[in-house]
């Protein structure tokens, strides 16, 4: 593509690309997207239709938009919208009126700000390819623009003043310069070779930028305009808070959005449970419509440094099951809860933040009232059930059917097995209570509602004849699991006696109904109990190292019970098995690809979005370790090779020495071959055989043309300094058009000599024909008038 076309093509493509990047964040209104798209079309069409608006109209519009932006900033508080839309307006203005180089620079600057706005509005991995594409385009555009502007600056006409003219200051003509400038416009620019070079430059920028990104010191002040960096819509709502309205968890169970990813460490991956319970927070007070933390529980909450927050002191940890460590990558949420495993021991947050520890509820929360707009990654240490409990579940009969069907509800036939599994998984998971004696009263609290009488009656009926509290709890749990059904369609939350309706009429509901009913039943029986909100996931993404995917639909409530003879909280889960984990199993290529895409997103989070000073430290240490390991391997390999050699090829003497020598020999051979190829190439270049070299400009490449020009110069005098193009025009004029072919030939000469085109054998034929015509003109008297036209 010719240079001029390439320039405009790249300019508009860059504008479109940056706008698409911004629109892809989902933070623009639909009308803004439509309006800007129309403006882009109009800007592209402007070059053809010469559409112009008077300057004063633009001024009025600009003032109006600026006032609107100020109004949005100060009155509506929509800073991000105000800035973004004002910048978009400026870009639209420039696209529709661009004339000078300064306008184009401003357009590029505004596209950059669009990308910037996109970068602060999204944490999506989609931004990575968009940024890469923008880099490629902006590099190409800036190079084209630099060439264009340099060319124009070169060909500006010097206009000396009168005094300078008196001094004899020289000045330059315009006509020939203008011609040269136009020639630049017709140069080939977006050739295949150029595009590959641009891609190379982009690669270099990405590599350099990536390297710098990894080493630039991290710091966070957050003192200036803290609200500017957030997205327009903010993070999504979560059902997790200190006050959870009844039914809140159930509502979010229809949402498949990923909430977090739990990446077990390699040693924990080996013993990973099929079901993983993620703890949010425990709530102890029920008002009849809402679960909340009691005043006693709130009093125990204390702030502490997030770095290595010890949730339970080692002395209180229950040595049950197996240790479990995992990194949790938590997406932005309005909730500030730090999710852990069900028996958390320690949480390591990389940020130097302060957290609030609820030692009674065994939960952690970031100490800030601001919603969290960036994903965070932290490490959790705790314990998971013993291996024998998990082995039951791994014999899941559904495993064979999952491969065959795209979407399959959990089969009724496996419910019994799942019930057993769920029971086995959780029963052993316990957490020590530090305040068991003092706080029994808060865990026996019941609301003064008409429901309570019915609940108490049912509890008495269900546990009649059972004395042991543990057996009573297990019986209540068993009843719920076996005699009730699970549904997300429970629409009786607004009834005044909704729990009675659930227990006696509907006999189906979601986890909150089951957990709440069980807690209230146990409390009515005098057994301390509380509800825990969190997630229960069974979705394992096998991409890479593998990790648990936790979605909103995995939100779950369960029950913790403390028995008089035990200082620990024992986990019970009364929800029927059909309500546990994912109720849909996806095996389509789309979902496989979604899993891969989500893994890429995780990599993007870890390496870019949540990359902090701790990651820097780890990276540097890993590099040092890798170098040290490499040196050690080299040393041991050399030693093995020496032993193998000295022992005369005895493999037992120098273990692996043979292969070290073979590898070294291979490397030497490859190096020698490479060097030989380089030498050969150099020699061919010197000899002019290299086809790459043949396209380079050399006088020898265009020798036939130069010979022709010399011969023509004998007939048509050519003054010193006259360019071939000027000479060609003179030749054509003075030959009366007989040698007209010389002009296109000269143009070809230019493209070959200066633009790297190849010499075409066809040109030899044309030159021979021209030479023949010249000879004819010299010999034929009739041609004399033509030459005498001078």
């Amino acid at each position: 593509m010719a240079f001029q076309r390439s320039f405009f093509f790249l300019t508009y493509l860059t504008a479109i690309w940056s706008f698409v990047s911004l629109a892809s964040t989902g933070e623009l209104h639909l009308w803004a997207i439509v309006a800007f798209s129309l403006i882009l079309l109009a800007a592209i069409g402007r070059r053809r239709f010469r559409f112009e608006l008077p300057g004063f109209i633009w001024l009025l519009i600009t003032i109006a938009v600026f006032c609107g932006a100020l109004w949005g900033w100060f009155r509506l508080g929509e800073r991000m919208y105000s800035v973004t839309y004002f910048l978009m307006y400026l870009e639209a203005n420039k696209l529709l009126t661009a004339k000078s180089n300064r306008d184009y620079i401003q357009i590029y600057g505004l596209t950059f700000f669009q990308m910037l706005a996109a970068s602060v509005s999204t944490t999506s991995v989609l931004f990575a390819p968009l940024l890469g594409g923008y880099l490629l385009l902006i590099i190409a555009t800036m190079i084209a623009f630099t060439i264009k502007r340099d060319a124009e600056r070169t060909f500006q006409t010097a206009k000396p003043g009168k005094k300078a003219l008196r001094r004899g200051s020289p000045w330059r003509m315009m006509a020939s310069d203008r011609r040269a400038l136009e020639e630049v416009g017709y140069l080939p620019f977006l050739t295949r070779r150029m595009v590959s070079r641009l891609a190379l430059a982009t690669g270099v920028v990405v590599l350099l930028g990536g390297g710098l990104f990894l080493v630039i010191p991290r710091a966070a002040r957050q003192d200036f305009l803290p609200g500017l960096g957030r997205g327009h819509q903010g993070p999504r709502k979560s059902g997790f808070a200190d006050h959870v309205a009844f039914g809140g968890v159930g509502r979010i169970q229809n949402d498949p959005t990923i909430v977090m990813r739990v990446i077990p460490t390699p040693e924990s991956t080996l013993n990973r449970p099929t079901f993983l319970r993620i703890r949010g927070t425990a709530l102890d007070e029920f008002t009849g419509r809402q679960w909340q933390k009691s005043a006693a529980m709130v009093r125990e909450i204390k702030p502490m440094r997030a770095q290595g927050a010890q949730i339970l002191p080692p002395s209180l940890l229950v040595e049950y099951g197996e240790p479990f460590r995992a990194d949790i990558n938590l997406d932005p949420e309005r909730s500030n809860y730090i999710f852990t495993v069900n028996q958390p021991a320690r949480v390591i947050l990389d940020k130097t933040r302060t957290v609030e520890l609820d030692p009674e509820g065994l939960s952690l929360k970031l100490e800030t009232s601001q919603p969290r707009y960036q994903p965070i990654t932290y490490q959790v240490e705790g314990r998971i059930p013993r291996a024998e409990a998990r082995s039951v579940f791994e014999a899941d009969p559904l495993a064979s059917t999952r491969e065959d069907e795209d979407v399959k509800p959990i089969a009724q036939a496996s419910l019994d097995l799942l019930r057993d599994v769920a029971s086995a998984v959780d029963r052993g998971i316990t957490a020590l209570s530090t305040r068991s004696e003092r706080n029994d009263r808060q865990y026996l609290q019941t609301p003064e509602t008409p429901d309570m009488e019915n609940i108490r009656e049912m509890a008495m009926a269900w546990t009649a004849g059972i004395d042991s509290p543990r057996a009573r709890a297990e019986e209540v749990e068993r009843r719920f699991r076996t005699e009730f059904d699970y549904t997300l369609e429970a629409d009786f939350a607004d009834r005044p006696n909704h729990l009675t309706h659930f227990l006696r009429v509907a006999r189906e509901g979601h986890c909150e109904y089951f957990a709440t009913s069980m807690v209230l039943m146990l409390r009515s029986l005098g057994i301390p109990a509380r509800i825990v909100n969190g997630y229960l996931t069974d979705e394992w993404n096998r991409t890479g190292q593998g990790y648990y995917v936790v979605r909103q639909e995995h939100a779950h409530s369960w029950v913790e019970v403390r028995f008089p003879d035990s200082p620990v909280w024992v986990t019970f889960d009364p929800t029927p098995a059909s309500g546990l984990g994912s109720n849909r199993i996806h095996r389509t290529w789309f979902h496989r690809w979604s899993a891969v895409a989500d893994a890429m997103k995780l990599v993007w989070y870890n390496l870019v979005v949540d990359y902090d000073v701790n990651d820097q430290r780890k990276g540097i240490l890993a590099s040092i370790r890798a170098v040290a390991r490499g040196l050690e391997a080299l040393q041991s390999g050399t030693e093995s090779a020496r032993l193998w050699w000295e022992s005369g090829g005895d493999d037992s003497a120098g273990r692996g020495g043979r292969w070290v020598l073979v590898g070294a020999g291979g490397a030497l051979t490859i190096g020698a071959l490479g060097y030989f190829v380089v030498l050969l190439r150099r020699r061919r270049e010197r000899a002019g055989e290299d086809p790459e070299q043949q396209v380079r400009t050399s006088r020898e490449d265009v020798r036939p043309y130069l010979d022709l020009m010399r011969d023509l110069g004998e007939v048509f005098p050519r003054p010193q300094g006259q360019t071939p193009r000027d000479f060609a025009r003179i030749v054509v004029d003075r030959s009366g058009g007989a040698l007209e072919e010389f002009v296109p030939l000269t143009d070809r000469y230019y493209t070959i000599r200066y633009n790297g085109d190849r010499w075409d054998p066809e040109l030899d034929r044309r030159i021979a024909a021209l030479r023949q015509r010249l000879r004819d003109m010299e010999r034929t008297p009739a041609s004399q008038p033509a030459l005498d036209a001078d």
């Binding site: 240079f3 970068s119 602060v120 999204t122 931004f127 590099i139 800036m142 190079i143 630099t146 060439i147 502007r149 340099d150 070169t154 003219l165 008196r166 004899g168 200051s169 020289p170 000045w171 330059r172 003509m173 315009m174 006509a175 020939s176 310069d177 400038l181 630049v184 430059a201 920028v205 350099l208 630039i216 991290r218 710091a219 966070a220 002040r221 305009l225 960096g229 990359y611 902090d612 270049e685 396209v695 380079r696 400009t697 007939v715 048509f716 005098p717 003054p719 300094g721 006259q722 360019t723 000599r753 200066y754 633009n755 790297g756 010299e778 008297p781 004399q784 030459l787 005498d788 001078d790």
Partner: protein, 400 residues
Amino acid sequence: MPSSTRSIRKLKAAPRKILAFAASLIHKRRYISIPMEGIIFVIVTLLIGLAAMNTSAQLLFLVFSMMCSFWILSALLATTTMRGLRVWRKSPRLAVAGQPTRVLLHVENRKRLAGSWSLRVNDRLATGETIGAAFFPHVPRRGDATQSYECIFPRRGLQKFASLAVATRFPFGLIERTLFFRDPAEILVLPGAIVLDDRILRQAQTDLGDQEVNAKGHGAGLYGLRRYRPGDPSRDIHWKVTARTGRLTLREYESEERRRGSVLFDNRLPHDANLDDREEFEKGLLLASSILGLLSEIGHEFELLTATGKVPAGQGPGHLTRCRRALALLEPESMSKPSPLQKGPENDSVWFWVGSEATRSQAPGRASVVRIEEYEADLERALNRSRESEEIEAIREVAG
């Protein structure tokens, strides 16, 4: 010398060395400048860095890193582009005031691997002015490229080229890197001429007679044949002989008259000459040059006499150039110098006296005094380049 003394001397010399080093750095900095776009880019980069720290948004850190890498790549490519370049100029030795002169600029790229892009070559005079520039979009590796520029010297005299400045803002326009190549050269700008008609000859009571003489000229009779040389008019080619011999052969004609013209240019100026006198001097010189041109055009022999010296009689374009060369370098003399008449003009020639009003009284009686005032408008226009300006404006309109 004791070592302690040496150490003290070294210590004393240290500040000077440091200053010299700093000066060398400053000197080098002259070759790398940051244009306004680059400065804005720096400011924006710093702001993005601050924003990244303020918001701790890692994507801003990423953008900040990319911007830094733009700088690094910019510096690397600018350095690579300028490495291994050789630049030189090919200029004519003579130019004519007021007429465009084309100067060729060559760039050779001796790098083995990388081409050079977007090079601006500025040609600079010894006075520091940029006389012309050429743009090289691309010079391939191990290749060369040639461009040219046209310039107009409005005044006669010796112009000295000093150096060639090669500058590039490739790739992103953030850094401008400039290299200077010393390439001294001289160009002699001959005085131009205005169009004169036969009136001046009639005033001089000359006779454009048809008397043929045995000398080369522009008459009708054949003087001889010789080989064609570049610059000869093609209409004088003897085609039959050329066809017979296979070599371009030129006819030469006899001169039809042997009238001589002596142009006496009085280049003396009083001590208290002001700018207007200098301007009048230049007009007189231009007029003398024009008369010489006219005489050459009609085939006269002519000579030039000034208070400084004399160019003996001769004929043809070569001799005209010789006379104009003398005029190009002519400077005003004091009034104490003898008048051009003392240089002894040919007696059988027609004398044209050109001089300022102050020296006009010293013109000999037989000389035809050519008054500057009569050609004032043409001379004024030629000196102020207004005519060329109009032409160029016309060309500009056509071209763009």
